[in-house]
Subunit: 382 residues, 4 copies
């Protein structure tokens, strides 16, 4: 598939995700980690305008100089920006205006890409598309948060097809101790944080071929796991008590039965589905209660070829740190990953809302330990 | 004009105010004191449904039981409600759905009012219309805040006509000491907080026939008034320093010239207009700097027949307290005014966005001392 | 009694209050409103040094220039100071060092006062002594807070004699409507906030000769008064819910019996004592629940000659505002009262820990509506 | 040395550290991370009483049942406790009372240790002594914070002898890639977090034999390092801006010259001393600015035999995580280390205030990334 086809496929997929929204759904930001969908629509457009069109497309006319202030996410090198907590306070530009901006940039990109871009630009373009795919996943998670925290619990899309998750009946997978190679190798796109490929020494361990299910997690709840400090980190225990956490996000006890908010609206909890929308603190507490632990990201990568993954991001015990030889790119693009490598945990795998083809076995996602609005689950190791 | 005509006149005026908005403008809540316009549209409708249709209209079918949770403002007696800071987090019900609710209630009210309502209901209806007029003023102030805090500074309505404020050339008005009567008397509607009419003893004083202008207030700024603690209350001084207050709300220094955000967008400061959007703390500091003071609400009421008023709410030195003999109504309606009678200052007059015929010489508005998003100004006394 | 005798009587009384403390009790500040006793010892000394010795005593050598930074309370005109929340973070100067400072200033004052000070100085001296008497009361309230919030509940002084409060068996006292004179008149010391004496018009009202007792207040608690929003201001209701207030400060339910922390330590609640250590919000809620109200400060002053008062500061319905003709003194002394005249309620009377002779019928105390660490009580009016 | 000698040696060293304090210095807690010295005195005593005397010493009479509430640090299994922020609000028990408690426990320990304690108790005793040595270091850091944040900047001890730090003139030390063994092996005491000894694979790297000096760090400051986001983690950049950080803790610019608060009081900055009292964020930013990085804890341990260390704790790039095979002890002692293994960075080495013999090459200290009150420094790797 040529670059222009790729470009449009990705761009249209973003718009398809939003096609089920009402105008009002594009606007709100119920919590700081969530961005309004219209902001995602504008920001992914701004990315191409800022990093490709403005520096490389001769004669390109910036659409609106003030949009840089509105749609910059966190690039300090690109100037001032709306503070993150204020994104949901902006009624303007309107959704229609932002789609107009998007069309303008898409037109300019089309013209530009027809002119055989340089290798440098092609690399930026692929980065931009992978960036937009990351925002596609964020769109799903943010939309779920927006609708799932509305007292009317509206469905996102009644026809949304939830994935089937295959389960293995065989026991834990064993890996022998030894030196293993970790990190991206080969062709195709990868992020800077997957490099350099390097050796790690792993002790022998066992890892489960399956994710923990809702039914299994319910046992933890029913065993009073949320009220026994012994399973928790001190910081996790503070978090549980301060925020009165008693169950995964989106779980609601209604008339004595657990329900779960999904893209279809509120529905009875599906016991055989993997548990989802839990924090690292909860994943750790569950594993501790089971007398096991979470795998490290290296253990995960070394065994992933032997189990099914890709429907739920999996918390690992590893902190998000640079690999040996990691270097940041020059300029604003260098802010993409490196500056977040502190006080975050690595997630591996992919989730039901990850864009097709976006993830791979060396992919490293990362979030802070208390966050739950992503589609996060648990795989046990020992 | 009969009741039904009154009802529709008020209801349509609310909708006319919103006719200049984009859908997105209805949704956001950039600060806790501001409510999203769509919430005002729904809440004023909920008021009639809750206090008239549900208790009095035989056979009335509630539109949606969950709307009580969404559109109750502060009536503890009517059940739980969305916490105030969350109003801007709700994308649903959508604007169209809320207008549909509004139409449903208007239809039911029409049928009901055609059936000769009782005196009790007529009284509630008049209260409901005055309530909606208060929200019309809040709609203007909230819309101004929403658009005036957007980095694009969009105009609300280019054709909005700002009021002309007449100025008197004569000096201060004097009043002799003695006993004066204060509070509502006569026919027509009044709020409970305007009662009982009672006597107060006033010492002799002088009061200005004019409001302080932007030009006069600029002198205070240029005399470094915001940086000299001697003019301020201790609490006001803390407020100025904590929030880095340097000028009235909506003032912006651009290229060395003061600009002001109005319903037309950003424009050069009009020096002869009354200063507006200042807190009580600022009003007090300005008066102190001038060697004068703010009038009490009694001084204001006793002299108001002798000067022009009605374009800008005026801060007084009086705390918002019950008049002798004040009693709260029974039930939820009793929560209308009484429970706010602490730690607020009284404002007198009316502003350019007060609905026609809504105010009167005995009318008492009230806000906390740090608030500035209302159209508030200064009249001096000594 | 001559000035020097007065001076030493007041100064020694301060030290006598502290004579029951351990060194450690002088140091801590468990909440922002409380100051460490050693700070009071230093601050009252600093007052005489700053406002009398430095400007008027020829050849006076300042004890330590850095003490101005440590012991200034809120006088902006006298320079920077330790922020109030940090007073309890200072281990130095030590208690012994502060008493040494106190002795140094007392020696200098003795020499200075023997030289026939001018009328201006005498006036400042009397202000300084009244200021120190105010801090004597604060010492008692702050010490009670420090010891009463310690998990060991140590007694302040087992020999402390609690006052007897006389009760009247006659009913409410009535006052006819009319014009009354309010404010200080005559000779002797008074604060600027008691001036000018002026006329007010009072409607007829009834006022109780007795303060509300613990037994009466218990009825309010047992009638679930802390859980019924109808009795409370909206702001008071927020305060009750946010801080989980269920009873007056210092009340503890132990093994099913109410106890009260007093200067003797924890002891069973004395039912016939006046209720004490309640906020304005609670006083208002209690009065509302009884179908009555709090008196205004004018009603109180007009009837006080007819009832016993002086054991418990009484909340009034009046906001703390300047009297007609009030003017602030020039210089730092002008910051004494005026800058606090916003968002506070007036208290009248005096309490069991007010210094002898310090209060009078025109005396105006004032605190914010949520504060409870003063010896505050309730008198009803209707 | 026998156990009883060890016991007294450690216990007396704690008291010697405090011998330079005034009573008031024992009481205050200027920031949540700092504990009042008297709390350390009591808590280290409580540790022996709770974990040895109460469970093992037949007939032991608890000194005061309420002290468990006062002196428990973070052991959830041992019951409720004073919340950490309140430690500085407690004037009682007094310093003398706590020393009396200490003496009582020391007497009981003496009797008990003379009776040939079991291996289990001996192990707990050694843990208790290592625990007290950790608090000895905390006493130094907390005392420095208490006195160093007092506006009078008192000296702790004019005779305190600062350590000499040897510097190596040779260049960076190189280590070849390969598998290395990490973690405690051999005899003597070690903490659970140093186990299990395990293999890690290290890539080739260079590490400096010297710590970064004040002179070198000044270059970073003078190159505007605190104002250039490119050197910082996103979270570190927020921290710098929110707290207006411009230099290491205890640095003060006075009359154009940098000064440093030390145990001798304020003195001119010693340029050749290692930079100290910096956060991980600052250590990372400095290393990034130099085009280098911090070593991992494994790199540090593998090369530490080749360089001088032990005067300043060194930040590493490693997050504090369990080693393979780590298990928590049963009961309250299991809370010692494991529950803190999240969102903290490992420090290696030891500092000038670490008790003699307390550290070793496998020792792992850990703190949150923003903390600076420990004696923390920088060693560069590349």
């Amino acid at each position: 598939m040529d670059l222009l086809d790729c470009y449009f496929k990705v761009r249209k997929h973003t718009e398809a995700i939003c096609s089920h929204l009402q105008t009002e759904d594009y606007v709100v930001q119920p919590v700081v980690d969530v961005s309004p969908p219209k902001w995602h629509i504008g920001h992914t457009t701004w990315f191409f305008e800022t990093f490709i069109l403005k520096p490389y497309a001769t004669g390109y006319q910036e659409y609106n100089a003030e949009y840089n202030y509105v749609f910059n996410s966190y690039y300090e090198a690109v100037g001032n920006r709306v503070i993150r907590t204020d994104r949901g306070n902006l009624s303007r530009p309107t959704v229609i205006e932002i789609y107009r901006y998007r069309e303008y940039v898409d037109d300019a990109m089309t013209k530009f890409l027809l002119e055989e871009p340089s290798a440098e630009v092609r690399e930026l373009l692929v980065l931009g598309l992978n960036h937009e795919e990351q925002h596609q996943e964020l769109l799903y998670t943010d939309i779920k948060y927006i609708l799932g925290h509305n007292p009317l619990f509206p469905a996102y899309n009644k026809d949304y097809v939830s994935p089937k998750v295959a389960r293995s009946d065989s026991g834990f997978i064993k890996l022998d101790e030894g030196v293993y190679e970790i990190g991206f190798a080969g062709k195709g796109f990868s992020f800077d944080n997957e490099h350099n490929r390097h050796k790690v020494y792993l002790n022998a361990f066992d890892i489960s071929p399956n994710l923990v299910t809702n039914a299994e997690y319910l046992e933890f709840i029913n065993a009073d796991g949320y009220h026994d400090f012994r399973h928790w980190h001190a910081e996790g225990w503070d978090w549980v008590k301060t925020h009165h956490i008693e169950s995964p996000l989106y779980w609601h006890m209604i008339d004595g039965e657990w329900h779960n908010y999904s893209f279809h609206g509120l529905e009875p909890l599906k016991l055989h589905d993997p548990v989802c929308h839990i924090s690292y603190f909860e994943a750790y507490a569950y594993a501790t209660w089971k007398g096991m632990r979470l795998p490290t990201e290296f253990e995960w990568e070394a065994t992933a070829p032997q189990f099914a993954w890709g429907k739920s991001w999996e918390w690992t015990e590893s902190s998000y740190l640079p690999y040996p030889g990691f270097t940041k790119a020059a300029g604003a693009i260098g802010e993409y990953n490196g500056k977040f490598m502190v006080n975050q945990k690595v997630l591996r795998g992919a989730s039901e809302v990850t864009s097709p083809g976006h993830s791979r076995i060396t992919y490293r996602n990362f979030f802070q330990t208390h966050l739950r609005w992503q589609f996060t689950g648990i795989r046990l190791a020992k």
